[in-house]
């Protein structure tokens, strides 16, 4: 027979199921690719290296761009390194809401060694674009799906095009949203010694939640402090402040950035205000191996009149993978053009089974669940998902954008 104590105890234990799904997702996103104590480089170190290697070439630009706080976080991480470990529950709501945002737009004002810097930045993991403009007129636009960088030089009114290649792990292509990016940022900061305080406060007279991260022993700056301001209604980061000082307390860098989440962003460097009369200098460099494969795939896509339905497309992809038909793989999953073919060559074919196509909350995205045949026979369910998109496809065809 149930006693009142029994009923109360049930209620007591309900609290431990709170946010379970959210926490699970957060944990799964933080797990490294494989178990058995496998060590991997910090995710943010990869992103930081990626951005450092490709976009921020000069020291001046690096620091100027650092005034845009998100990037500054990355630079901080790049100095620190360290393994990613853990997933903060307190940050989970913000990450969830930010995941729905397609673009992140920051306008930041700051000083670096006494010099005023104004920057504007756009970032989208959906569109695979990083772009920014500086107050001195320099503009950069990087489309990492094509690994192509446009740089505008205001004095000479010229645009140079290059294909910088990041040689590290291709983690940047695996990041699916601004939310997952921010999630990694705060988790990483807490785990590598950043002292994080969450508290209530005000920003421009409005009540906000503040996440303040302080490092007292930064390798480059004596003290490094970052504040994220979160709007309690939207649960989105709306502003950030950064301050770096040397050992004498002199301010080396100070900036404040306001953040918004537009639905669209720049589609090319001209959208950022580069005059159409700007001269493109130098011939475009030789295409990278990736670019060659990608262009070939695009040419085939453009010439095809019809496309398989999503379910068949996924099945066709796995057939192509089993027969090592890399061109076909790149057509059906353009991102796979970047994969290491030597590794693919050694891969043993695996037999998969597929489930029915499922829609998602995002327009233009669908999912085909799948699993290895042995897993399905044992557990009676699918353990993996192929995500398909038809974004930007003028033929209305779906293509694979992610395999799990």
């Amino acid at each position: 027979m149930k006693t009142p104590l029994d009923n109360d105890l049930k209620k007591v234990y309900e609290a431990f199921n709170q946010k379970h799904d959210q926490l699970r997702e957060s944990l799964m996103a933080s797990l490294p690719g494989t178990s058995k104590g496998y060590k991997q480089r910090s995710k943010l170190a990869h992103i930081g290296a990626f951005i450092g290697d490709t976009i921020m070439k000069s020291r001046t630009t690096k620091f100027a761009t650092a005034a845009m706080i998100i990037i500054a976080v990355l630079i901080g991480i790049k100095y620190f390194g360290g393994p990613i470990d853990g997933a903060s529950a307190a940050w989970a709501d913000v990450i969830e809401n930010t995941k729905k945002m397609l673009w992140l737009h920051t306008v930041a004002n700051g000083t670096q060694k006494g010099k005023e810097v104004v920057t504007e930045q756009w970032m989208s993991f959906e569109s695979k674009v990083f772009a920014y403009k500086l107050s001195d007129g320099h503009i950069r636009y990087y489309d990492y799906s094509k690994q192509k960088l446009w740089e505008y030089e205001p004095q000479s009114r010229t645009i140079s095009i290059s294909y910088p290649k990041y040689k590290g792990d291709n983690i940047i292509t695996k990041l699916k949203s601004i939310g997952s990016f921010l999630g990694i940022a705060i988790e990483e900061l807490t785990k590598i010694g950043g002292n994080v305080i969450e508290r209530s406060g005000t920003y421009n007279g409005n009540t906000v939640r503040i996440y303040e991260v302080t490092f007292s022993e930064h390798p480059a700056f004596k003290k490094f402090n970052i504040k994220f301001f979160v709007d309690p209604n939207s649960q989105l980061v709306i502003a950030e402040k950064i301050k770096a000082t040397d050992e004498n307390g002199n301010i080396l860098m100070e900036a404040e950035g306001k953040i918004d989440y537009p639905e669209t962003g720049p589609t090319c460097i001209y959208d950022l205000g580069v005059p159409s009369s700007a001269k493109i200098i130098g011939s475009e460099k030789a295409e990278t191996e990736f670019q060659q494969v990608f262009n070939k795939a695009i040419a085939i896509i453009d010439s095809r009149k019809s496309w398989p339905e999503p379910y068949d497309l996924v099945v066709t992809y796995w057939k192509a993978r089993a027969t090592k038909n890399y061109d076909e793989m790149a057509i059906l999953w353009p991102g796979s053009a970047t994969w290491n073919r030597q590794v693919l060559e050694k891969e043993e074919p695996v037999e998969y089974v597929f489930g029915e196509v499922q829609t998602t909350e995002f327009e233009g995205h669908i999912i085909v669940p799948y699993a290895t045949k042995s897993y399905y026979e044992k557990h009676g369910k699918y353990s993996l998902k192929m995500c398909l998109e038809n974004r930007k496809s003028n033929k209305g065809r779906y293509y694979i954008s992610s395999g799990n």
Partner: protein
Amino acid sequence: LTQPSDRELIQAVLAGEKTAFAELYDRYGPLVRAICYDTTRNLSDAQDLAQDVFMRAYEKLGSLRDPDRFGKWVVVITRFRCREWQRNRLRHRNKNDRPYNIQVFEPDTPDNSRIERLRKMITTLPEKERLALHTFYLQGKSADNTRRIMGLSRSGFYRLLGRARKRLERLLIQQENIR
């Protein structure tokens, strides 16, 4: 369809099926959070600590000799991690420094509800009795589950659970009398 056993899930994780770990998390996540709460007495910190426990469990999964004992193993990791957390907290307190973890400065919640008092009261019980309550209310009531986690016979487990309940009842009465 029958649920895959812990052993099957662990084998799948070690074979590269990362998603199988999510199922293990579903099974033991609330229990781990409850054990963490016994130390932190704060739900948010308990959630963070539990995440850390599962990260460690995932990294060390290959070292688990008997995959059928995952439940017991993860409880051991949790206890170890909780002790670390406590030590860390004390160290920082001694140095008059802040703890490394996120601190949540919320206005004090009025500690007047029966449920809240009961939750705090559980943290004062002997460890075995606490674990008996946690497993009973969070792991389902099958004897197999509890045996796996607590290493007790069915009757031994129910004796322990009975003791925990009686102690709680006594504490509640004492507190009512004080109020």
